[in-house]
């Protein structure tokens, strides 16, 4: 068989280059929380719960100018093939911080001086793009909690497999080794096209990266629709009761 041209690029799971995995979202999954949500990209499932705004303890951590957003991302031990030891990890700490930065720009935290909003994100099942699923779930949970937000944020991972850009990487693609290998670019955008989060691992030219961001813009439109629908559905359910 001859080597395929990039126009007929085959992804391991047969998706088109700009095709996302099936997404689903649901809010109100943790009754104890002030807001909660589940978001999934195919096999990758994230859940998030929001507690707050509530008083920040200890007092010396309080910020009298604006409220504090505190995210906590963690993977369940059995969310991946090789069991991970439960508890905090360096990777989790970094992703938690990145998630805070991705969400904070749209939150009107100035309304909550001396308060804290806790967002807990747990990955139930992982097949790459967990941080993006986590951010999408967290944004939904915040909206569900009624925390004032200027905008919704939506997150997607763009990949470059050899020379081909694709949306929504899965694990097989993340481990791509042919040609130039895999480049993983998780991106979070607001609906008016502001970028709140960007990471990159791999090898890419700035021209390709610009294309990748355009791809992300398109993909996050679809994600936003899924998020919006989940929120609307929960309101309808509430009214039915």
């Amino acid at each position: 068989m001859t080597k395929e041209k990039s126009t007929a690029f085959k992804r391991p799971d047969g998706r088109k280059v700009d095709e996302m995995r099936k997404m689903s979202a649901k809010v109100g999954i943790v009754p104890n929380a002030d807001g909660s949500a589940m978001f999934s990209f195919g096999d990758t499932i994230a859940i998030a719960a929001v507690y707050g705004p509530r008083k920040m303890h200890p007092q010396h951590s309080q910020n009298p100018e604006k409220g504090t957003l505190r995210c906590n991302y963690s993977m369940l031990s059995f969310s991946v093939s090789d069991r991970i030891k439960p508890g905090p990890s360096r990777r989790g700490m970094e992703i938690s911080k990145i998630t805070e930065w991705a969400l904070e720009p749209v939150l009107m935290l100035y309304k909550y001086p001396n308060m804290v909003i806790d967002v807990h994100i747990n990955i139930l099942q992982a097949n790459a793009s967990t941080r993006c699923a986590g951010i999408n779930a967290a944004a939904l949970a915040l909206a569900h909690a009624g925390v004032p937000m200027r905008e919704m944020v939506s997150s997607v991972s763009i990949g470059k497999l050899d020379k081909q850009l694709v949306v929504d990487l899965n694990k097989d693609e993340e481990d791509w080794e042919e040609g130039e290998g895999a480049t993983d670019i998780p991106i979070t955008l607001t609906q008016d096209g502001m970028l709140t989060h960007l990471q990159l691992d791999g090898k890419i030219t700035s021209k390709e990266l610009k294309e990748a961001i355009e791809l992300a813009k398109k993909a996050t439109k679809d994600i936003y629709e899924v998020q919006k629908k989940a929120l609307k559905d929960s309101l309808n359910e509430e009214e039915d009761k």
Binding site: I29, V30, P31, N32, A33, S36, D43, I45, I47, A48, A49, Y51, R54, N72, L76, S77, F78, S79, V80, S81, D82, R83, P86, G87, P88, D118, H120, I121, N122, L124, Q125, A126
Partner: protein, 265 residues
């Protein structure tokens, strides 16, 4: 966050008339639902809902050296995490006593019931055995995590499939599950934890009721009533009469709970 004194008083007043806030009788369990396949990366997993309480339990397998005192037996490790996601009361950080207690109680209920035939999990005596990891996570805590988690552990074990093991490389091939389940016996352990509130005994407390509880005994037993693990929790003494009452109640309740969960397994 704690249950207020007024609510506590109310709970006791209600119980004196044999009533509870949600309309249950003292010996009633809440509705139970069990779902499988919470994570397809786990060898087996289950989601248990007990009223508003929700836990998920996953089973992972690995190959390791046996413990020196059981060279021909597989290992069991049960851990639990009370996720900050599941209640405003839980925080990040090293596990506190309630999380440790939950893991230990489920560990002993599973281990002592002989539900898992650990001798069949021996690959090479003294060198290699299967390790079974049971990890428990709370998703929404509305009381009685212990009884819910034990049900979850049983379901996850029951649904678990052994991963393939490559003897030459000594690697576990997690992506290639066999169709073989774990070596289990018919001795399904069920934990029932009666609580003493005032002079009444109840089972399956909500979080509010748990806050008011003065003493509890977790009793792990199979459906025939053979008790294999027990632990009293609380710094308050119980009369022998009360212990008898708790034992009798737990036996009655266990049969009902077994019927409720049997259809899922």
């Amino acid at each position: 966050m704690e249950t207020s004194r007024l609510t506590a008083e109310r709970i006791r007043e209600y119980l004196d008339q044999g009533k509870r806030f949600d309309g249950r009788k003292p010996e009633d369990f809440r509705e139970i639902t069990i779902e499988g396949n919470v994570s397809n990366k786990a060898e087996g997993s289950a989601r248990v809902k007990l009223g508003k309480t929700e836990v998920i339990v996953g089973v992972k397998m690995g190959v390791a050296a046996p413990y020196p005192d059981s060279p021909n037996k597989g290992n069991l490790m049960v851990t639990s995490e009370l996720l900050p996601l599941s209640s405003p009361r839980y925080e990040n950080g090293p596990p506190k006593f309630p999380a440790v207690e939950l893991g230990r109680l489920v560990d002993r209920a599973i281990r002592e019931s002989k539900f898992v035939d650990f001798e069949k999990l021996c690959i090479k005596e003294g060198e290699k055995v299967w390790s079974v990891f049971i990890d428990i996570y709370s998703i929404n805590d509305d009381g009685n995590l212990i009884d819910a988690a034990t049900i979850g552990a049983v379901a996850a074990l029951k649904w678990a499939k052994m991963p393939k093991y490559d003897e030459e490389t000594g690697k576990v091939l997690y992506d290639e599950h066999t169709t073989k389940g774990l070596p289990l016996t018919k001795d399904i352990p069920i934990c029932i934890t009666p609580h003493k509130i005032g002079n009444k005994i109840i089972v399956d407390p909500t979080q509010e009721e748990e806050d008011v509880s003065e003493a509890k005994i977790t009793i792990g037993a199979n459906v025939e009533g053979v008790i294999s693990s027990m632990q009293k929790g609380s710094p308050i003494e119980l009369s022998i009469q009360e212990v008898h009452e708790m034992l009798d109640l737990s036996e009655k309740v266990r049969k009902k709970v077994f019927l409720k969960i049997e259809k899922f397994l």
